[in-house]
């Protein structure tokens, strides 16, 4: 059984329907540690030791956040800047994260079609995730295809609930190791590979 750590970053959770629903189911799944970074570090003063220890205690790391300017909210970036230290996450002695899996769980306002050469955003979500992908590579981790909620502004309550249900299934499958091959190259989004 894999231990899953969700590092969740949203500066105004009370205003997000999608992330409220995702967070709700995530908190419920056994074997999942749900860590709300903005709640834990309201003054951006990150306890690096604690965060590093927490990483060591888990097998699969999820970064869950809205897609802000093609990246994560500021606190998660701060977390990466400070926690993924030289000689911990990378560097000659920095092998502590080797072999762990990571993936990004994100929501965007735009639909999947606008994240393309023909759409407003020009690049696909996976192309835009390159910095995260490369971060995991340098840390010796395996980066899985992302779980993406598109068109978050216009989703109906039922559609959001469907995403939440999928998310729960994903977490359970990750935990129990029942997920089929979901490598970065072969999979667009992990959404489509969740066993029902």
């Amino acid at each position: 059984m894999n231990k899953i750590l969700i590092l969740f970053a949203h500066p105004a959770l009370q205003k997000s329907r999608v992330h409220s629903a995702l967070a709700r189911v995530a908190r419920d799944v056994e074997g999942v540690t749900f860590c709300d970074l903005y709640d834990r570090y309201p003054d951006f003063f990150i306890d690096v030791h604690r965060e590093q220890q927490q990483l060591l205690d888990h097998d699969i790391i999820l970064w869950q956040h809205p897609f802000y300017w093609y990246s994560c909210p500021a606190l998660l970036k701060e977390w990466m800047d400070l926690v993924l230290e030289h000689n911990f996450a990378y560097g000659r002695q920095g092998t502590h994260l080797h072999g762990k899996k990571a993936l990004t769980v994100l929501s965007t306002g735009g639909s999947q079609s606008v994240y393309s050469r023909k759409g407003d955003h020009h690049y696909s979500v996976k192309e835009l995730l390159a910095p995260f992908h490369q971060t995991t590579r340098l840390c010796g981790m395996e980066y899985l295809a992302p779980f993406v909620v598109h068109g978050s502004h216009l989703l109906t309550v039922d559609e959001i609930e469907q995403y939440a249900t999928d998310y729960r299934k994903l977490l359970i499958a990750l935990r129990d190791g029942t997920l089929p091959e979901v490598s970065w190259q072969d999979t667009e989004y992990i959404n489509h590979r969740i066993p029902s």
């Binding site: 003063f45 690096v48 800047d81 400070l82 230290e85 030289h86 000689n87 560097g91 000659r92």
Partner: protein, 645 residues
């Protein structure tokens, strides 16, 4: 001048109350049956310790009823009163009319004359303000819509006593027992002798006097008196106000209870309201207790032994008739879900006004003496049954409705459990309060400094003057239903006492406390208060950070250093607290308090190593690794962040 008799009487009354009331409360009966039982025990038919003078005591203790109406008035803002005018006049009027009609008809069927039947109907249509209010408030039912409706009806009845008193002589004339011509009309004197226009003028001017005094003058008097810091003088001024309005209204022929009620309403929006409540409450409680004891003592058991079945039957009939009439009215006015039953059960007895009205009718010879004593007996016993009826409501009726409602739709009215109390609104509490209010929370503010109250009130804050250290004060402010109590008063020992009291009586209430210093903070921890903030620490760190900036740190560096220090301090505090718990006596000596704190803190700081949290922003180790790989020597400046000398 000492009157030994007086001491003895007082001792007997108090002893009886002290012995029986706690027992009655333990048994779940509430205080009223306890007092009544105490009266019965010391009364002429059991122990015989008190006798004739119990009537005098009762008159004296009726002042408790007057005080109670003042307190009810305080709870009723004029706007609220205006909103309830329908239930006061509509329900109240209907209640008196319907009940009088039903009971009058029953009396007539039993063979009383028409005028007697009307008198009986009117007298017994009234309900007991004292018993109903005391029992409702003990059971926390005043805010229940059924309880509220009952209070409205009681208010109307207090008004109705006056026309009934005027009507009784007419009834005597219409068909008294004796020849009308021999009937000597009661000599008119004083107010009643004045011509009608003068009477009206006087009534209006007394009313105006009460309103003007309460609205515009009382505040200044209270501020002046409170400013002197003498609690007993404040109590005296409140009593003066209450007795003054009672006297004024009694003098113009209205009920003194009505006068104090109006005074209470006028003062309901006064910022000293909580303090007024707290001052009057114990006096009212004691006098009401006396009143109930004297009611108990005046139950005439000789009469009861002669015709027990007749009397019990009449009492039962009275309760059933009143209950029926009240039930119909409650349904007509839209009370549902068991609230109509609470309303009907609580008002299904006769009134203490009945004693006055019956004896007045007796002197008018509407009734013969035997009928009068019978009526008094029925009135007293019906009053004694009331608490039992409310227990029936609590144990049988309410659970039944709760069960039924659970099967139906869930109750959609949410409790307004969003109450926040700020105790102490000086330079510290002010900031807390402003932040909460700026974010849309409503707060009840208590402060013991009258000067502050005046100034802040000018700026539109809703606050109340009062001695925060008195538990009654907190209770009057609604601590029972509060969500959060912000304890920001400057007096640190008192703050601890309040916190301890709150933890004992309301363990679930969250407390946010201001601490003077480290040890004060620890005292709070020990009481189980976790949300504690030292009053100076954050400000000092802030100023330190600005000093660092002046000394050459850039602003972010200085802010970061301050943050690091702050979080570091928190872990020191945890460590220190453990130490303090083990060796409390060592720390306690007040004179050495600060130096102890200093040395303990610095010691802990020295032993505690700060992990450089911003390590990842420092490239020293990366540079070293790169240098080793390429064979070059690493650069000159290493490790220390720029700006540090």
């Amino acid at each position: 001048m000492y009157n030994q008799d007086f001491f003895l009487q007082a001792m007997i009354y108090l002893l009886a109350a002290v012995m029986t009331v706690p027992l009655a409360k333990k048994a779940g009966l509430g205080s009223v049956p306890g007092y009544l039982l105490a009266g019965v025990i010391i009364g002429p038919f059991v122990l015989g310790w008190v006798g004739q003078e119990s009537e005098k005591v009762m008159h004296f203790a009726e002042f408790g009823v007057v005080l109670m109406l003042f307190l009810i008035g305080l709870e009723m803002q004029p706007s609220l009163l205006w909103k309830t005018r329908h239930s006061i006049f509509g329900m109240g009027g209907m209640q008196v009319a319907t009940t009088a009609l039903v009971i009058g008809a029953a009396a007539w069927l039993m063979g009383f004359r028409l005028n007697q039947s009307v008198a009986i109907g009117l007298i017994l249509s009234l309900s007991s303000t004292a018993i109903v209010l005391q029992t409702l408030s003990e059971k926390g039912l005043q805010k229940n819509s059924g309880g509220r409706a009952a209070i409205s009806v009681l208010l109307f009845q207090d008004l109705a006593v006056i026309p009934i008193l005027a009507l009784l002589p007419l009834l005597a004339v219409i068909g008294g027992i004796t020849d009308v011509k021999n009937q000597v009309p009661p000599p008119e004197e004083g107010f009643a002798a004045l011509p009608g226009t003068v009477q009206l003028l006087l009534i209006v001017s007394v009313g105006l006097a009460v309103i003007i005094t309460g609205r515009f003058i009382a505040r200044h008097i209270f501020r002046f008196v409170a400013g002197s810091g003498m609690k007993e003088v404040f109590t005296a001024s409140v009593l003066l106000l209450v007795i003054g309005s009672a006297y004024g209204t009694a003098k113009i022929g209205l009920s003194p209870a009505l006068g104090t009620f109006i005074a209470g309403v006028v003062l309901a929006e006064n910022e000293y309201r909580h303090e007024l409540e707290v001052t009057i409450e114990p006096i009212k409680g004691l006098l009401l207790g006396l009143f109930f004891i004297s009611v108990g003592a005046s139950i005439n058991f000789v009469l009861f032994y002669q015709k027990p079945l007749l009397i019990l039957g009449l009492v039962l009939l009275l309760i059933v008739l009143k209950f029926g009439a009240l039930w119909v009215i409650a349904r007509a006015f839209g009370l549902r879900h068991g609230r109509h039953i609470l309303f009907a059960l609580s008002l299904a007895q006769a009134s203490e006004f009945g004693f006055v009205l019956v004896s007045f009718s007796d002197t008018l010879r509407i009734f013969d003496h035997e009928t009068s004593s019978l009526l008094i007996m029925v009135i007293i016993l019906s009053m004694a049954f009331t608490p039992l009826l409310l227990i029936i409501n609590e144990k049988l009726v309410r659970p039944w409705y709760v069960r039924r409602r659970n099967k139906e739709v869930p109750d959609k009215i949410p409790e307004t459990g969003n109450k926040i109390i700020i105790a102490g609104f000086g330079r510290f509490g002010l900031v807390v309060g402003r932040l909460l209010m700026a974010n849309g929370f409503t707060v009840t503010i208590l402060d013991s400094n009258p000067a502050n109250v005046e100034i802040l009130r000018k700026y539109g804050f809703k606050l109340f003057y009062g001695d925060v250290t008195r538990p009654e004060m907190l209770e009057a402010a609604g601590v029972k239903d509060a969500r959060l109590l912000v304890l920001t008063m400057a007096e640190d020992d008192e703050a601890l006492k309040i916190a301890a009291w709150l933890k004992k009586h309301y363990p679930r209430l969250k407390i946010a406390a201001r601490a003077r210093d480290t040890f004060h903070e620890f005292e709070f921890y020990k009481l189980g208060v976790e949300m504690v903030q030292r009053e100076t620490f954050n400000s000092a760190v802030e100023l330190g950070s600005r000093s660092l900036h002046y000394l050459g740190f850039n602003r972010y560096q200085a802010t970061r250093a301050a943050l690091t220090f702050k979080h570091h301090e928190n872990s020191i505090m945890r460590e220190l607290y453990e130490h303090w718990l083990k060796d409390e006596t060592h720390f306690i000596r007040e004179s050495r308090r600060f130096s102890e704190q200093l040395s303990e803190t610095l010691q802990a700081e020295r032993d505690f190593s700060i992990h450089d949290t911003d390590y990842a922003w420092d490239v020293a180790s990366v540079r070293k690794e790169k240098a080793e790989e390429t064979g070059k020597s690493d650069g000159p400046s290493e490790g220390k962040p720029s700006g540090v000398p």
